[in-house]
Amino acid sequence: MNKIWNKALLFIISIALGIIFMTQYNTVQNVLGTDKTINEKTSDLNDEMTKLNIEKNQLRDELDRLKAEAEVNDALLKEREEEIQRIEEELNKQKILSGHYDVKGKGVVITIDADPNAYINLAYSHQYILALISYLNNAGVEAISINGQRYTNYTEIVPVLDHINVNGVALVLPLEIKAIGNERTIEASLNFVGGIVSQMTQIGFVIETEYKDEIQINKFVGDKEFIYATPIEPIEDELLEQ
């Protein structure tokens, strides 16, 4: 019995000594670190700090360079976007004027018909239609169509028998003329005393005008080939200006 106690006691003592030994070792390691001396550790930290400082400065320079580059890039992109936008606006303007694109906007729909009691030969009165278009242009309209035929730079109104040909398409009464523009100026340009509407009414046309917030005018379908008119190159143009 006594032997067993002795063995147990010695076992506990050896466990305790083992714990004390490891604790003591760990404590010293924790306080002093690894095998390095304080000076060595300080030196290592200094070295690392120096390297980090150099790296940090290089990175800051790189970041500043990138930011400056981005700023220049942004300014360039903005400038180019503005340039493209300006050119796009010019392109849109020319596209709309050409009549080769469907357009929409507020404007007027003018319906021209003949008074049942009057004899109207549209072919003989085609100059009134031409005059009406001229007065619409006077009102600053931006697009015109006659019964769906877009009035372009090369549209002719040809009197044929008792009808007219517009863009080569035969049209008879009633005519529907659509024009996109300002309601008030259109009204003023067409309906003044002795104006084109009153002249046409006098000879037996019945004209109705309806202003709408949105009308659509179809594009001209067809091609125009220039055989005789040669554009003068911009360089030649500049020389002429000089």
Binding site: F11, L63, N73, Q94, S98, G105, S134, G140, Q216
Partner: protein, 242 residues
């Protein structure tokens, strides 16, 4: 046997005791005085500073990556290709729309008020009116005119030719008789369109006594719309319908 094992155990305890003693001695030998603790504290602080610096460096690296990601590459060739393509389209449309100077064969016409002494003709019928010019333009277009100009005013699809008292208004400017009309196209066709019997110009000359003189030209110059018109003209109401 039990004795031997007991002995071995004692030896183990003995060795452990030596280790513990060595560890204690080692612990006391490290000489952790106040100065050491101060230095250790400084090293700890320094380590924190270095650690923060590492974080700063990592943050900078991350920031650089973000900045690089944000950098939009400016594609020079794509930009210039776009500009060239758009300008090419604009140039073609400008030619179509009458915004370029052109040269080519055609006719020159001079139209002025009647000098007829026929008293049966009303005085108002002896004057060249807006509609007369409008019809002449239309006749020239019908004959395939590719460019028309009247007293320096280029005629395009938005040009108005309207009465402005004793003058005419074309492209917003006042124009007085005599009216000099130049048109580029097939000279023969254009000439016939304003000279053949039954044409509007023929009637003006032979019925109403207007002065109408026409000559063919094989090298006419027709100027574009004025620069201020081109620059200041804005589309306000129409937009391209998709």
């Amino acid at each position: 046997m039990v004795f031997i094992r007991f002995k071995s155990f004692n030896i183990l305890i003995f060795i452990l005791t030596i280790f513990v003693s060595a560890a204690v001695v080692h612990g006391t030998n490290v000489k952790i005085d106040e100065n050491t603790i101060y230095l250790l504290e400084k090293i700890n602080n320094f380590e924190i500073v270095v650690k923060n610096e590492r974080v700063n460096v990592e943050n900078l690296k991350h920031e650089i990556e973000v900045e690089k990601g944000k950098m939009v590459s400016v594609n020079e060739s794509e930009y210039f290709d776009t500009i060239i393509e758009m300008n090419k389209n604009i140039q073609e449309l400008k030619h179509y729309n009458g915004f370029t100077d052109v040269r080519g064969p055609g006719i020159i016409m001079r139209v002025s008020d009647s000098v007829s002494e026929d008293e049966t003709i009303d005085i108002m019928d002896k004057i060249v009116h807006d509609v007369d010019i409008t019809v002449l333009i239309n006749d020239l277009k019908s004959a395939g005119a590719e460019a028309i100009i009247i007293n320096g005013k280029r005629i395009i699809n938005i040009s108005e030719v309207v009465c402005a008292g004793p003058l005419l208004k074309i492209n917003g400017d006042s124009v007085s008789a005599p009216f000099l009309i130049s048109a580029i196209g097939d000279p023969e066709a254009l000439y016939n369109a304003v000279n053949e019997e039954g044409t509007y110009a023929y009637e003006l000359k032979n019925v109403w006594g207007m002065e109408v003189a026409t000559m063919k030209s094989y090298n006419l110059f027709i100027s574009k719309l004025p620069k201020f018109f081109e620059e200041n003209y804005e589309i306000q109401y129409a937009e391209i319908a998709e």
